[in-house]
Each structure stands twice: as structure tokens, then as C-alpha cells.
């Protein structure tokens, strides 16, 4: 691969790096459009789930990966989006309005969370968002007049201009569409001043401020965008599961979202997609192979969460840059093949210093 020579500034800010990228993404989208025609309903459903988690992952990536703000309560926004969408639809509001409204209401709650957490950093923010998430989760359980409590309620079938979006395929195409939209939005944000301001806040608040970046404003924007996008994912999630119950939106789901961006690779949009694939497909993979495992391991209860935890631990220990980082290394290796020097990637010892000095 040769270094590409750029001849205009526009090339640096265009949506795709070069013509090859345009072609490969077009092929990818085409392939995804054909999936329901080729694969069975089970696989289409699973892939739809991946899309929905990828949308939420992109949302969280903007907040955590690019702005450096941890959120351990992201499931709450998925829930807010899901309930907003489903409850409004039962009241007769058409889906084309409830979908954006779900995003909007979630974004408003994002602002609501951003304001009090503005001055928190590091793990204090992590714990505070965790607390926020669990409060919202309790509200879903106890506010029975709206959410139906533990009994839950069935989500109506959406339709756009009279065309019902039915079945697994409907949700699949809808999610794919929203995912493409959200990725386009995220790329725009990242190539605009607002995205740069986020990165600036992540790397040095004090110097971001002296560059004229209003910290509170941009942290709020970041929270709002992130939760708004997750709210969209929530609206789709409601149709994906077809039946809303409050215990879907607990701490464990929040942890799954954080796992998406962490395993995928912090600070890359590709990472959010890879991570979503990992989180959604690993349990299915286990389910498929469990009967073939020796010594009855497959029938052991708790196999799935323990493998989930194990993979998470292994990724953090051996690939801190996540799957995206590993992908870049593989690309580098292929590029240099067969001249690659192993010693080049040796990790030097690092030494932590108090994070209390801020």
C-alpha cells in the first residue's frame, strides 16, 4: 500500500478516505441489504440486534471515546427511548413522529444528567452515572401507570405512511437505515468543530478552555447527542423485543454497552461496530457450540456470563486498544509482510501517577 498523495484540503474532510473506501462500503451495504434474502430469520434477527446495539455503541462512543466522559448508566437512555416510543405509539402517535421524539426525549434526559455531573471527573462520573441509571431503572419498575411495571406491555407494530414494518425483516431494514444515518451523523460531528472540541475536552480540559471552548456547553452537547442516539436505538429495541419489561434496562445492560466500546476500541467508530458484533454474537456463538463441548461444560449454568467476563478481561489485558487496534495491527502486519519485525511493537513499562492532581 502506498501513501496516498493529497492534492486538496477537501480530501481531508471528505466522508470517505478514497475511492476504494467508497466502493468497499457500497459493497458492504449492498450485501447487508441482501442478507434477508439469503439467510434465515434467526440470523437476520441477530444481525438486527447487532445494528441496534451498534447504534447505541456509536452514541456512547461519542461520549466516552471522544469526549472522555464515562457513562455507566447508558441503559437508562435506551429505556427512555424505548418507553417514549412505545407509550406514544399506544396513544396513537404515528411512528415517523415517535422515532425522532424518542431520540429527543432521551437527549433531554441526557442534558438533565449532564448538568449535575458537569464538574465530575474520572470514576466519580462513572459512579454517578451508575446511580442515575439505577434510579431510572427503578422508575421504570415502579411507575406502573405508564410502564405497566413488571407486567410490561406489548409494543404496537410500526408503520410508515401506511406501510407496516412487520416482522424480523422490517426491523432489520429499519435498524440498518437508522445505523447508516447515525454513522453519517457521527462522522459529520467528528469532522466539525464540535467534534474537535470534544476531543480537546478529553485530552486537556484546561487547555480546551483557553482555546475558547465552553466546557459546560460542549459536555452538554456531547451528553445530549450520545443519549439522543441511544434513544433512537431504544425506539428500535422496543420493536425488536416487541414486549417491554422494565428489567431489560438494568446495570448489566449498561455494562454491556461500555463493553461494546471498550472491546471494540475506544476512540474509533469502527470499534463501536466491532464491539456490538462481539457483545451480541458471542452469546449466540456459545449457544450454538454449547452442545458440542466436551465434559458437559456446555450445560453448566452461568457459562455465558463467565465467558463474557473472561473475554472482557482478556481483551483488556492483552489488547488495550480493542478489536479496532488489533485490526490496525493486522493491517500493518499484512502491509509489511514478510518483513515485519516483532520487536517493534514491544510495550514499554508505564507508570501511573495520581489522577487526583487535576
Amino acid at each position: 500500500m502506498l501513501q496516498q498523495l493529497k492534492t486538496t484540503y477537501t480530501q481531508d474532510i471528505s466522508l470517505f478516505a478514497n475511492r476504494n473506501a467508497v466502493i468497499s462500503y457500497a459493497v458492504l451495504i449492498l450485501a447487508l441489504l441482501l442478507v434477508p434474502a439469503v439467510l434465515g430469520e434467526f440470523y437476520v434477527g441477530e444481525l438486527g440486534g447487532v445494528f441496534i446495539f451498534a447504534i447505541a455503541g456509536v452514541g456512547l462512543m461519542l461520549l466516552t471515546g471522544y469526549t472522555g466522559l464515562v457513562n455507566l448508566g447508558q441503559a437508562a437512555f435506551l429505556g427512555i427511548g424505548a418507553y417514549t416510543n412505545a407509550v406514544l405509539m399506544t396513544k396513537g402517535v404515528p411512528f415517523i413522529f415517535t422515532l425522532p421524539l424518542a431520540g429527543l426525549v432521551s437527549a433531554l434526559f441526557g442534558v438533565l444528567l449532564a448538568i449535575p455531573t458537569m464538574r465530575m471527573t474520572g470514576f466519580y462520573l462513572a459512579i454517578a452515572t451508575l446511580a442515575f441509571g439505577s434510579i431510572i431503572g427503578t422508575v421504570f419498575q415502579k411507575w406502573t401507570s405508564v410502564t405497566g411495571g413488571f407486567d410490561g406491555f406489548a409494543v404496537p407494530t410500526p408503520s410508515i405512511f401506511g406501510f407496516p414494518i412487520e416482522g424480523t425483516n422490517g426491523v432489520y431494514y429499519l435498524s440498518l437505515l437508522v445505523l447508516i444515518f447515525v454513522i453519517w451523523l457521527a462522522i459529520n460531528i467528528l469532522r466539525s468543530p464540535v467534534g474537535r472540541a470534544m476531543v480537546a475536552i478529553r485530552d486537556s480540559e484546561i487547555s480546551a478552555q483557553s482555546m475558547g471552548i465552553n466546557l459546560s456547553l460542549y459536555k452538554t452537547i456531547s451528553f445530549a447527542t450520545s443519549s439522543g442516539i441511544t434513544g433512537l436505538a431504544g425506539a428500535l429495541f422496543a420493536h425488536y423485543v416487541r414486549f417491554l419489561a422494565p428489567d431489560s434496562f438494568d446495570i448489566l445492560l449498561s455494562i454491556q454497552f461500555v463493553t461494546i466500546i471498550f472491546v471494540g476500541g475506544l476512540g474509533s467508530l469502527h470499534g463501536a461496530i466491532f464491539g456490538a458484533m462481539f457483545v451480541r454474537l458471542l452469546p449466540q456463538f456459545i449457544a450454538i457450540v454449547r452442545d458440542d463441548l466436551p465434559f458437559g461444560i456446555g450445560r453448566m449454568p452461568g457459562l455465558e456470563p463467565s465467558l463474557f467476563g473472561l473475554v472482557l478481561v482478556l481483551v483488556i489485558l492483552f489488547e488495550p486498544l480493542g478489536m479496532h487496534g488489533r485490526w490496525l495491527k493486522i493491517k500493518a502486519w499484512l502491509k509489511d509482510f514478510p518483513l515485519h519485525r516483532r520487536s517493534g511493537i514491544r510495550r514499554q513499562k508505564t507508570y501511573a501517577r495520581s489522577e487526583r492532581l487535576r
Binding site: G302, L312, A352, E355
Partner: protein, 293 residues
């Protein structure tokens, strides 16, 4: 009079429950003080400690005290090894990586406990179970008394260890600047493993103390999240603070459960946590300092 007695009873029950939060919080605080890492699996360590003690005492028929001491020792070794085998590798990485790592470890611990001890709840009979001391109108279970007593002693010992001994100060030094600590000849790695050992032992104590007043089950580790509130309330980094924070949370929770409509008890810890952080984003009494630019 009856109201006052009820109130007092609630406060005492709350304080005893809060002591447990305090001891788990102590585990967080110790690890934080020595390495600025946050262990999200602290509650799961407590669960493991409880189960280990249970299987030694109820399963193998050991004497309660011997079994408890053995369980604490086993958990201390487990904590030490956990650090020296797993966590050592992330020393120097951002705090967030450690949070994720310990979250992952929590999954593994829960599954491991489920596989070895089963997913059902077990009742752990101890010398303190179902014995009540009466003080006038107030009845206090011996289990509660043992919790309060055990917690206060543990807390005092650890406080003295941390602020008075050379190795305690070296632990603080290592958390503040690993590079400099190495240069001073402080065996940073051993010290970190040691603190994980102590912290796991403290969680085991929590598990054993908690056992008589509740049932043991694999998911009891989620109590750890309440302990976060305790640690934050007490100002992450202060040993007595963790205990005080735990007791306050425990009492408020009891009162909220009695005087407020249903549902509010569930959000006590998280509301208090949020409130404290909103007022003091760096935590109560926390030692922080602005970075020099």
C-alpha cells in the same frame, strides 16, 4: 414513646446494615488509597468470602471461628494472587481500563460461585443467628452487634496501619507516584498485591459478618454498588469516612423504607450518592489539588 422506640430500633438496624456497606467500602478505599484503582468486583469478593466460610463451616463442619479465620486467610491469598497474576498487568493503564477489568472479573466470580456453590440461596447458621439481646424496649440481634463490633475493630486496625506504619505510608506514596516510588526502592508490585490481599480479606469479613442476618446467594455482590455510595459519602480515601458513610446510608435506607412510600427505599443509596456528588463533585473530604499549569 412507642414511636421513639421504633425510630431507635430502625436506626440501630440501619446502622448494623450500614456497617456492612462500610466494610465493603473499606475494601474500595484501601485499594484506591494504595493504587488509585477502583475495584468494581469488591461486592463479589464479599460474596466469595461468605461462600468460602459457609462451605468450610457448614459443609466441612469446622468450628465457626476456625472456619471464619481460614476463610479470611484464603480470601487474602486469593486477593494477593489476583493482583499478582491479573491486575498487575494493567498497572499504569487509565483508571477506566481497571474499572472494566474488575467488572469483567465480577462476571467470572459470580459464574464461578454459581458453578461451585449453586445458584440457590443458602442460610448460614452462625453462633449469632437468632439470638437477641434486650435493652429495655429495644431488641438487638446478636448478629447486628457482631457486625458493629467487628466493623469498628477492623476499621481501627486498618486506619492505624495506613497512617502510622512505614509500609502504610509507602502504600500512599505508591498511589501518588509509581515512578518515584520505584526509584525510592519501594517494592510497588508487592505492595499492590498486599493491599489487594488485605482488601479481599476485609471483604471476606464483610461476607462472614453479613451471613447470619441474611441468606447467601451469588448475586449478593450487587450490594457493592451501595457500598460505593458509602465510600463516596465518606470521601473516597478515608478509612473512618467509609464506615461513617456506610452507617449513614444504612440508617437513611431504613427510615426511607418505613416512612416513605414503597419504591423510595430502592433509590436511597443512588439518590444520596448523586446528591453528594452534585454538591461536591470531587467527593466529600477528598484530598484533591488542582494540577499546576
Amino acid at each position: 414513646m412507642e414511636d421513639a422506640a421504633r425510630l431507635l430500633q430502625l436506626v440501630i438496624n440501619g446502622a448494623a446494615g450500614g456497617c456492612i456497606y462500610g466494610v465493603i467500602a473499606l475494601g474500595f478505599v484501601l485499594i484506591y488509597k494504595a493504587s488509585e484503582m477502583i475495584n468494581f468486583a469488591q461486592g463479589d469478593l464479599m460474596m466469595l468470602g461468605g461462600f468460602v466460610a459457609f462451605s468450610l463451616i457448614a459443609g466441612m463442619g469446622l468450628n465457626y471461628w476456625v472456619g471464619a479465620a481460614l476463610a479470611i486467610a484464603i480470601m487474602a491469598v486469593f486477593g494477593f494472587l489476583l493482583d499478582s497474576v491479573v491486575l498487575r498487568r494493567v498497572i499504569g493503564q487509565p483508571q477506566f481500563a481497571v474499572i472494566m477489568l474488575t467488572l469483567g472479573l465480577g462476571f467470572i466470580f459470580r459464574a464461578a460461585a454459581g458453578i461451585s456453590f449453586g445458584y440457590g440461596s443458602v442460610t448460614f447458621v452462625t453462633p449469632f443467628t437468632n439470638k437477641v439481646e434486650n435493652f429495655g424496649d429495644i431488641a438487638i440481634g446478636q448478629d447486628s452487634l457482631s457486625i458493629v463490633f467487628g466493623t469498628v475493630v477492623l476499621c481501627a486496625v486498618l486506619y492505624a496501619f495506613f497512617s502510622k506504619t512505614r509500609i502504610g505510608i509507602a502504600m500512599q506514596a505508591a498511589s501518588q507516584n509509581q515512578l518515584a516510588a520505584y526509584c525510592m526502592g519501594i517494592p510497588v508490585r508487592t505492595i499492590f498485591s498486599l493491599i489487594w490481599g488485605i482488601s479481599a480479606a476485609a471483604s471476606a469479613v464483610a461476607g462472614i459478618l453479613l451471613a447470619p442476618s441474611t441468606v447467601l446467594d451469588v448475586n449478593m455482590g450487587f450490594l457493592g454498588f451501595k457500598a460505593f455510595a458509602a465510600a463516596v459519602l465518606g470521601g473516597f480515601g478515608s478509612i473512618p469516612g467509609a464506615l461513617v458513610g456506610g452507617v449513614v446510608i444504612g440508617i437513611v435506607e431504613q427510615l426511607a423504607g418505613y416512612y416513605l412510600p414503597a419504591g423510595f427505599q430502592d433509590v436511597t443509596w443512588n439518590s444520596m450518592l448523586l446528591l453528594v456528588l452534585i454538591v461536591r463533585p470531587q467527593g466529600l473530604f477528598a484530598e484533591t489539588q488542582r494540577k499546576k499549569v
